[in-house]
């Protein structure tokens, strides 16, 4: 596609519920990143994929967070047993190799 597509745009989850956030990167982009942006903060790194390999997951805040990219294209970020502190915008970005990678519009997650 023309850009990075994320779905859903908005998600309201009850505390304790599991959620899955989807990212469709730009076709052919090898690198894929997930970031978490809390209100009033800058994006913070969660995890990085090169093709289907998850090369860095050092930013995942807890073992409730899990990301996958099984075929090297679409990626899913899963959050189990959501907590209120998980409320944030989750941004996905992809890159072909250049330095300024392309972000999607994000998924705004609200945990109530």
């Amino acid at each position: 596609g023309a850009g990075v597509s994320q779905s859903p745009r908005y998600k309201v989850a009850k505390r304790g519920q599991d959620v899955a956030l989807r990212c469709d990167p730009i076709s052919g982009h090898v690198s894929l990143f997930w970031y978490q942006q809390a209100l009033g903060q800058g994006p913070e790194f969660l995890t990085y994929f090169q093709n289907e390999a998850q090369l860095d997951k050092s930013g995942l805040p807890s073992d409730r967070f899990f990301a996958e990219r099984p075929e090297g294209s679409v990626s899913t970020l899963k959050i189990q047993r959501t907590q209120q502190e998980d409320s944030a915008v989750y941004l996905c970005a992809s890159s072909l190799g250049e330095d300024g990678y392309t972000f999607g519009s994000g998924t705004r997650l609200t945990v109530v």
């Binding site: 690198s31 790194f45 860095d56 330095d99 994000g106």
Partner: protein, 114 residues
């Protein structure tokens, strides 16, 4: 511990004048710096970048200056236009290339008054 700091949360500038957005960093291992622009309900958009081997990079109305000794960079927008009103994020990473994560500041909200 904020490794990239944007200490001014907002800036208001008259249309046609210069906007100067500042950014400081603490990690001396950072060697590549980027500026992103973000409109509400959209993802950040890459604006301009600079490598640590340079002290200036220019692209149209946008110029980024880097002072490595002071661990400081700034984005200059001349002339400022109302459409430049957005949140600007400074970001840094440890090496060029696609596979290195960015560390962002908190952002500065720029308002350009007509």
């Amino acid at each position: 511990d904020q490794q990239v700091k944007q200490n001014s949360p907002s800036l208001s500038v008259q249309e046609g004048r210069i906007s100067i957005l500042n950014c400081d960093y603490t990690n001396s291992m950072f060697d590549y710096f980027l500026w992103y622009k973000k409109y509400p309900a959209e993802g950040p958009t890459f604006l301009i970048s600079i490598s640590s081997i340079k002290d200036k990079n220019e692209d149209g109305r946008f110029t980024v200056f880097l002072n490595k000794s002071a661990k400081h960079l700034s984005l200059h927008i001349v002339p400022s236009q109302p459409g430049d009103s957005a949140v600007y994020f400074c970001a840094a990473k440890r090496e060029t290339g696609a596979n290195s994560k960015l560390t962002f500041g908190k952002g500065i909200t720029l308002s350009v008054r007509p």
